[in-house]
Point group: C2
Chain length 336, copies 2
């Protein structure tokens, strides 16, 4: 490695709509030195997540805005190359909130060891926060019963592809809402969704109705907006809606729909609940054991969209909001 | 009694907006004769309920439209004057779905005996479906904890006045939303609400914010629409919303608001659940025992708005949608 070259992306501008490449600036810094209790990590993969969009704004619903002129980003997985911490050895694979960098120093106590039983990137997707989000939203709020119909918006996304697989394991009819024929084919052929409705088709509402002949029992919502207005017209009595994300509003567009939801809930005695993964922190181990078990048995697959090259991180984020990915959006920074 | 005079109201027209007196026609029929297993009831009180508005339309969300040219109405309380049924004696007070009539014959098996321990009309309000609706929505969905803030829309209505009282018994701060100064005064002075916000005031949003300095933990929603859009901006994490009614839509107006709700639920991990009283049918006895106990102890009062005279039934219904009532809207047909 070149000790003087540690590329990083700073946030330099707050977008008003979709993020843009000009919102980020690539800089080079020296590779930092690990102090006492710290480790130096060579980053292998970066997690690209919808919530990044909030960070970029001045006003955010849940988290503090990301400061301008500082290194942007979120979780990553990397390999320990220097360790001043008992629990981490050189060569270990670890996960941490490193930001968009090629090398990072972090307190050893704040790093999580990644199981060697799965590809390293899975710790950012199916076997990480993405998979756990799918698990708790579906199992704890959706409470699917065999034979019920589960509808998933943004079905081709990181969380959606995980929810679809878990719902199939529960014996449900699984119907996805996605935005392209390419995604529809993938979800049907590679993941085993029972039906996919393309919301860009003019007659998608009729198609959803047809895909759910017995109504909808569980709705796992990643998107919100007008899609939800249509879904709720098909709710069965005592249906459950898990509100995982509202990506239709993340780029700052006002909420223009959702108007029919309270009335629909009232009409069907349905439940709608928002959640954050950290609501379930005390049950992470339980869920992760189950997910790893299913993964080992070949019942769950880690679907990911890997963008190659550290310098592609901004483009990967832009692509996430344009719907480029099927499964988890990942930037591959370096080979193991 | 005059055996030839049993006044009744027929539904003769389906309104497009608010109901109108011309939607009903007053007719006279002979007083019917009780057959085997039946009783003849002289009606004392009629229950006037928001759900009547659905009945009147061609297209209804939950119940079949009420046929034209047939006797309109819902529950009433009356006195048995002829009985061909073992369980009912002449002089007993009974509750049943009689419709808007002065005398009705009903199958004895379908009548409920009314406890003599409370005024007869209470069986249509606090100690009937109204009070049970308040009880289950608040206790089962709202799950109030002492010290929490409970907000109630349509606070001066039949359900709202009951919810407010039960929430006070749970040790909560209780904030009502109502539409006039007269109602505000009554709710503060007679029921003990901690604060009332008048949604007709230009600055009611600021007033609600001020009335809920610690945010909102439970929202008991009878109204929906734009009021809810404001309430949800003040939700605390893990707040609960019971959707009891959506009266802002009952007169056929489209749902013009509610847009911010899914986003707010997501942001706060809040729960929103619709319900119908009959979801809780297996627990009616439990709830009614508790309500009667509180009533006997003087901890709950039956607030009602009594309109005198059978011929006033249509005007009472129109008044319900104009917000004339504080507490349960009742038509008094006859003295005991």
């Amino acid at each position: 490695m070149n000790p003087n070259r540690n590329r990083q992306f700073l946030l330099v501008n707050r977008p008003t709509g979709e993020p843009d490449e000009a919102d980020f600036m690539l800089v080079e810094q020296p590779i930092p030195v690990a102090g006492s209790g710290e480790v130096l990590v060579r980053i292998l993969y970066l997690s690209i997540d919808p919530y990044f969009r909030f960070y970029m704004s001045e006003v955010t619903p849940l988290i503090a805005p990301h400061p301008l002129q500082e290194v942007f980003g979120g979780d990553g997985v990397g390999q320990v190359i220097v360790s001043n911490h008992d629990r981490h050895k050189v060569g270990d694979i670890v996960k941490g909130n490193f930001g968009w960098k090629e090398y990072a120093v972090a307190a050893g106590d704040r790093l999580e060891r990644v199981s060697p039983e799965a590809p390293a990137s899975a710790a950012l997707g199916l076997l990480g926060t993405t998979g756990l989000t799918a698990y708790f939203g579906l199992m704890d709020i959706g409470k699917p019963v065999p034979g019920e119909t589960v509808v998933i918006s943004s079905a081709a996304g990181a969380v959606g592809t995980a929810v679809g697989q878990i719902a199939k394991l529960q014996g449900c009819r699984v119907v996805g809402i996605a935005g392209s024929e390419r995604k529809a084919r993938y979800l049907l052929d590679e993941i085993g969704f029972d039906a996919i409705v393309n919301y860009n088709d003019a007659d998608w509402r009729a198609a959803l109705h047809k895909a759910c002949p017995d109504g909808i029992d569980v709705y796992f919502d990643n998107v919100g907006g007008g899609v939800s207005d249509t879904v709720v017209t098909l709710l069965n009595r005592h249906a459950r809606i898990a509100v995982c994300g509202q990506t239709s509003h993340y780029n700052g567009s006002p909420a223009v729909s959702g108007t029919s939801i309270p009335f629909a809930l009232w009409k069907t005695s349905a439940l709608m609940k928002g959640f954050m993964l950290y609501d379930y922190e005390s049950r992470f181990d339980e869920a992760l054991s189950q997910m790893i078990k299913w993964f080992r048995e070949g019942k769950l697959l880690n679907h990911e969209h890997v963008v190659e090259g550290f310098e592609q991180a901004p483009r990967a984020l832009i692509g996430l909001f344009r719907g480029d990915n099927i499964g988890k959006m990942i930037v591959k920074v370096a080979d193991l």
